[in-house]
Amino acid sequence: MVTSVVNLVVVLAFAPFLLGVINKTKAFVAGRNGPPILQGYYDLGKLLRKGFVVSRTTTWVFLAGPVLSVVAPVVAMLMLPLGGRPALLSFTGDMILFVYVFALARFFVATAAMDTGSAFEGMGAAREVTFSALAEPALLFGLLALTRLSGSLSLTRMLDLRAAGGWQKASASIVLILASWFIVLLAENARVPFDDPNTHLELTMIHEVMVLDHAGPAFGFILYGAALKLTVFSTLLVTLLIPVRSGIDALDLAIFVGGLLGVGVVVGLVESSMARLRLVRVPQLLVTATLLAGFAVVLLVR
């Protein structure tokens, strides 16, 4: 229990570092120095100290968006086994809550975007909900496959592949799930090839354009929430991919964090090596992710 809490605190503090790793990887590939690896923390510190302006046309929903975008990934993290230790919050069917707590946050972020009445933000909200609706089945199919494999409806047991002998029994399915979830990770976290986190061009953005009107602490919440969400999805991948438990708390945590860093590097390499998709092609890639996860299920039920 104590280890689980320690792990949670470490991961909460680590999240902005992951963005730094991605940016450093991209800078390295491009032959630049890039921003400091702690830039995420500097940005948060700066934003939290700022004041902010709220448009008169907005309502309480406008501020609910940033709050929910931090709360949702924290709740999701409570349900995940971090560093090989059981989740703090675990019950039968928590995987459903895990998926839909993000949907709840998305609802509020999109509503907050439309609350401003800006044409850009409406466009961004439309894009975000369209694409996440397509990403959802991929995530759920993957969870379904793991449920079948582990015989459990709780994330702690589902993601612990040692108990079920997952890699021995169903390595093909797990590889498919990993591939599918990696695509979901990129889509849900507004990374290339779905979105360009660096662009300032309001007409092409998806996620960023929804939060154009948020400033100061509200935007800081959104940035931190985005870092947490990336960490949550990376946790899913790392927990599946490295089912090693040494029994030593510190070592397990180190392996886990090392895994997260690895995900950051891979995301950075993907962003360094390909262009963004044309917006009309995005659904095709998300459907591919769903099909991959679907095949994982099929392999397990045959």
């Binding site: 360009d196 007409l203 962003e271 262009a275 963004r276």
Partner: protein, 514 residues
């Protein structure tokens, strides 16, 4: 109507009395027949004050048109007078004149009858107090961008307005999209926020300020505009320029093209989030700018071109340094740019995005790489050679698809040609000749000076009064022709592709707004 009267060449002075006066109907017919049947296009079309006509007896506002015949390298100038209030528009037949007529309407308060969309261009007061094409009172404020926009009505159709303040550090412009979801029906562009009054400031010149004005008409086209001005003054003053100065000017013009084309390819890669080319080209653009600094001490070429010659000579040590730097840059640019063509995800974004048909491109009179990307072999260096280009042939590079990929690829082809051109020039620079002294300019004369800047045809038309001072100086930046091309490229496209299309044209706001 297509006789030899008013026929001239690029950079050749013409006595004003040799520019034929045509009655309004014949003038209109001359433009329409010349463009529709004669294979000519409108290079410039502008008004002037009565004094500038060199003929006080003229009533109303004189109008001048310059038609270019690309195939034969000929320019045709004619003039007419409007009654000072209205004139018949040529736009129904000659679409490419649409912005010129709007400009004349705004500057001289002449209403063009039959113009389908006669709106102000730059939101300034008329040059003729008391005459306003839209009947606005003389002291009324003219807020920029406040005009009617084309609207599409219907359920679920919505309007997206972008600018004039943008998210990035770029020039101001206002873009109005009529959309259905992600689909764009129509884009209308309103500029004029950068209007500085350059053309008015040039009247009565040249003065000490004239050259700095020319170098900042469009800051990224310093050499292009300075060269067009230089050729115009040299033609009017009859000053022969040494072969060495011509060569150095050519090197500078191509370096400017290189820096901008390389920067554009990097920015195009950046817009599709393809980092390797974006990062490398960003640095390489700086390298080419630094080579221009090697020539004259300014990265943008300020102070290099002077009427009569160049402000700085090339020492042998400079030549060697330039040659070696260029050779290194050639290898690096090739590596960086070929990544674009070898990466499927980039090709997928570039191809079939922002397509303009060759017919549309010809009808709206596109110039520069945007026209050549539609398969139109239009290049001033080839069609109307002046300066060094009379002696050294630069092949015209074209592509055929008219999409973002073609515009990018034409840039890449031109980069290779420009490097080759510069290396050839550096290898055989003519010996230092005597700098021409620029004397007084011919009175009552007119000269059309064309230069192929990196964006396309730069057209300067200079007219002198009886004292040999500028009575009218008309500048047409390539952006003036091409902004409509961007609007057409977006038709039936995706709104999310706008930044990419915009970058593939990379037009100047201040060059348009003057």
């Amino acid at each position: 109507m297509t006789g030899t009267a008013g026929r001239t060449r690029n950079g050749r002075a013409l006595a004003l009395r040799d520019v034929p006066w045509l009655p309004p109907a014949a003038f209109r017919e001359w433009i329409v027949r010349g463009v529709c049947d004669g294979g000519r296009r409108v290079a410039a079309y502008f008004g002037a004050t009565r004094e500038a006509a060199g003929d006080e007896a003229v009533e109303g506002v004189p109008l001048y048109a310059v038609l270019a015949d690309d195939t034969n390298g000929r320019l045709f100038v004619a003039r007419s007078t409007s009654d000072g209030a209205t004139f018949e528009s040529v736009v129904p037949e000659v679409a490419q004149a649409h912005l010129f007529e709007r400009e004349i309407a705004e500057q001289y308060g002449i209403r063009f009858e039959g113009h389908p969309w006669l709106k102000p261009v730059r939101f300034h007061r008329s040059y003729r107090p008391g005459h306003d094409a839209w009947g606005r009172s003389w002291d009324a404020a003219i807020p920029p961008g406040v005009v009617d926009f084309f609207r599409v009505e219907g359920d679920e159709v919505h309007e997206v307005a972008v600018g004039p303040v943008h998210a990035g550090v770029i020039e101001p412009g206002h873009f109005r999209f009529q959309c259905h979801g992600e689909h764009v029906f129509h884009l209308e562009i309103a500029l004029g926020y950068q209007h500085r009054g350059v053309e008015r400031a040039l009247m009565g010149g040249p003065t000490k300020r004239t050259m700095p004005y020319m170098e900042t008409v469009a800051g990224d086209t310093t050499i292009g505009h300075a060269l067009a001005y230089g050729h115009a003054v040299e033609a009017l003053a009859g000053a022969p320029v040494s072969a060495r100065a011509h060569a150095i000017r050519g090197i500078a013009l191509e370096l400017e093209r290189l820096a901008n084309h390389v920067g554009d390819l990097g920015a195009l890669a950046g817009d599709v989030a393809y980092l390797p080319t974006a990062s490398f080209c960003g640095r390489l653009r700086g390298d080419f700018l630094n080579m221009t600094a090697e020539l004259c001490g300014s990265r943008f070429g300020r102070g290099l071109v002077r009427p009569g010659g160049v402000g700085f000579d090339l020492e042998p040590a400079h030549v060697e340094r330039l040659e070696s730097r260029l050779a290194v840059a050639r290898t690096e640019v090739t590596e960086a740019v070929e990544l674009l063509w070898d990466t499927p995800s980039v090709r997928e974004r570039f191809e079939r995005t922002g397509t303009i048909s060759p017919d549309d491109a010809a009808a709206i009179g596109l110039v520069g790489p945007a026209a050549r990307a539609c398969g139109i072999p239009r290049d001033v260096r080839h069609d109307f050679p002046a300066g060094i280009y009379r002696f050294v042939h630069v092949p015209v590079m074209t592509a055929h698809a008219g999409d973002v990929n073609s515009r990018a690829y034409v840039r890449w082809l031109e980069i290779q040609q420009s490097i080759q051109f510069i290396l050839k020039q550096l290898g055989g620079l003519p010996t230092k000749g005597r700098d021409a002294t620029v004397g007084a300019m011919k009175p009552d004369a007119l000269v059309v000076s064309l230069t192929e800047g990196w964006r396309g045809e730069i057209c300067h038309v200079a007219m002198t009064d009886a004292a040999g001072r500028f009575s009218r100086y008309k500048i047409t930046d390539p952006s003036f022709h091409n902004w409509l091309g961007l609007a057409l490229a977006l038709r039936s496209g995706q709104i999310s592709d706008f930044p990419l299309c915009n970058k593939s044209f990379n037009l100047s706001y201040c060059g348009h707004d003057l």
